[in-house]
């Protein structure tokens, strides 16, 4: 886990192009504006972490990129082309998969049906879907054991595996994961992180929101810190990890309160 930052930093040069660029993004819900001009860039082949306090707008940012929440101002570019105002189906079709906060599995469906829902758009690619299903089962053997079980009856860790697997089933270039470790045991988190690092080595670009700031900064190459709808800091994760301001704001609170930061009751759509 600790060497991940170095790994991401040592990406080959041809994979260092920019995949996603966000400029001056404003977004929100009804009368409420949540994002007030966010700038962010995701480099191809890397792991980018998004951290920040509760209610900062991290989930809203992901939802706006994936088209669930309409943008109000600003621009989103995917590999140089305008992505703003695209439908969720188009965003997914272009190669951005979103593993939402709280996993949001289809609880009454089986694990395999959930995974197949992830490949919903690949209607003419039965062979590719079958191959990727096998790949997901190789990465998460637990899911294969439980393929016929209703997804809602599994443990939190298995559900998160299923949610990540479902995201992979669209064969994305960029995987956005909201709250990777939420409610999971440290051992499970480590398993998930290892799986994601392996996927990243195979070329998958990852944008991850994570409450556990130390873990997030250790695993990622680049990181963004958000506060009340704005990016307050960004840079190489190792530099942020050493930054006294970041330590005071996030790690200080983190260390003094023990295992994890407290979560206010966030409303999730």
């Amino acid at each position: 886990m600790n060497t991940a930052g170095e790994r991401a930093a040592a990406m080959p040069a041809e994979r260092s192009g920019e995949l996603l660029r966000i400029e001056g993004l404003h977004s929100g819900y009804g009368p409420v504006t949540v994002l007030w001009g966010v700038d962010l860039s995701v480099r191809e082949g890397g792991i980018t972490a998004l951290i920040g306090s509760n209610g900062a707008g991290k989930s809203t940012l992901m939802r706006t990129v994936s088209g669930l929440v309409p943008a109000r101002a600003g621009r989103i570019f995917w590999r140089g082309a305008e992505l703003r105002d695209a439908t969720p189906a188009r965003v997914l079709g272009l190669g951005i998969a979103h593993v939402p906060e709280g996993r949001r599995l289809f609880g009454a469906m089986s694990v395999e049906e959930n995974l197949l829902m992830g490949a919903y758009l690949r209607r003419n690619d039965a062979a590719g879907v079958a191959r990727d299903l096998g790949r997901v089962y190789t990465i998460f053997p637990k899911l294969k054991e439980r393929r016929r079980q209703a997804a809602g009856t599994m443990s939190g860790g298995e559900q998160q595996m299923c949610a990540i697997g479902r995201g992979l089933m669209s064969a994305p270039r960029l995987l956005m994961i909201d709250e990777l470790s939420l409610g999971l045991s440290p051992l499970l988190v480590e398993q998930l992180v290892d799986a994601l690092l392996a996927l990243n080595r195979e070329g998958l670009t990852i944008l991850v929101v994570e409450q556990d700031v130390v873990a997030a900064l250790e695993v990622s190459g680049t990181a963004y810190v958000m506060d009340t709808g704005r990016v307050t800091q960004h840079g190489e994760s190792s530099a942020l990890l050493a930054d006294p301001a970041v330590r005071r704001a996030y790690l200080g609170a983190f260390e003094s309160q023990g295992v994890s930061t407290p979560r206010s009751g966030t409303i999730v759509v």
């Binding site: 088209g67 969720p88 997914l92 289809f106 609880g107 469906m109 829902m117 919903y120 209607r123």
Partner: protein, 287 residues
């Protein structure tokens, strides 16, 4: 005697299941109480009647025509009208389907008059008897068709891409959107399936009951009661609810007189709403 009543109840129950399955699907997935459902059924009956008596098309063939025709009609109604108000409170869609039902029902009264018609097969199919139990063959065939249609709906929802999308939207709309599901199109497909089930049920019922625009309300009432009995939004629930209602009506009619059968079914409705509002199989998802 007991066996005869039991068989009558099961026959009735299967038809009720078919009446209710589409209504339950639309209610469960779209959260729309489609008050046009009864009129769709009557329209299906008229289609069967017209096809048979003016063109000699047998009702079994008419089913194959009614299914795509009603699907298309339902699809267009949802896309063109209901999708515009899906975000509104349920009362708005209720009022809207109420209004559209008035139009549809009155159009049928204008077109067909309110008098009762009957689809009479020529030659008649006769009856079959097992010992003392006697069942008209047309009823029996209609029952089998009702079961096959309901089963087909179940398989379609569980096994096809479109069916999975419908269930996914019902379980978690935003998660379904993240999978690339087009929600308005899926709503339209679900409403179309509901209408197709109603139209096909109407074709079958034309063989058994007199046809009149006035029947739409009783049919709607049956669909409503079956949904409450079986639990909303599941095909097995509709089958169970249909069978329970069919048996209760048929044994009830025998015990306290056929004129009280409707009272009995609504007493059951009220009882369930008070004591078990989730129905017998009430749970999320189509299983």
């Amino acid at each position: 005697m007991f066996l005869q009543i039991l068989v009558n109840g099961v026959v009735l129950g299967c038809l009720y299941a078919c009446i209710a399955a589409g209504f339950s699907l639309v209610w469960g997935v779209l959260n729309v109480i489609n008050l046009m459902h009864g009129s769709f059924i009557v329209l299906g009956s008229y289609l069967a009647w017209g096809a048979y008596h003016s063109m000699g098309v047998s009702p079994w063939v008419t089913i194959a025509i009614a299914a795509p025709l009603f699907y298309l009609m339902g699809y267009l109604v949802q896309r063109g009208v209901l999708n515009r108000v899906m975000a509104a409170p349920v009362l708005v869609t209720l009022t809207l389907t109420f209004g559209m039902d008035l139009i549809l029902n009155n159009a049928m009264i204008l077109a067909f008059k309110a008098d009762y018609r009957k689809l009479i097969l020529d030659p008649p199919l006769g009856t079959v008897a097992w010992g003392s139990v006697v069942v008209p063959v047309d009823r029996l065939v209609a029952t089998v068709f009702a079961l096959v249609l309901t089963g087909a709906l179940y398989v379609l929802l569980r096994r096809t891409r479109m069916g999975r999308a419908i269930i996914a939207v019902r379980l978690d709309r935003d998660a379904a959107r993240l999978m690339g599901v087009d929600v308005p199109v899926t709503y339209a497909a679900a409403f179309g399936l509901g209408a197709a089930m109603a139209g096909c049920a109407g074709v079958l019922l034309a063989l058994i009951f007199p046809i009149s625009p006035l029947s739409s309300i009783p049919y709607l009432g049956k669909a409503f009661v079956v949904c409450v009995l079986g639990g909303l939004g599941s095909v097995p629930g509709a089958v169970l609810g249909g069978l329970v209602l069919g048996l209760v009506e048929s044994f009830g009619a025998m015990a306290i007189g056929p004129e009280h059968a409707v009272t009995l079914s609504f007493a059951l409705l009220i009882g369930f709403l008070v004591f078990r509002p989730q129905g017998l199989l009430g749970k999320r998802g189509f299983e």
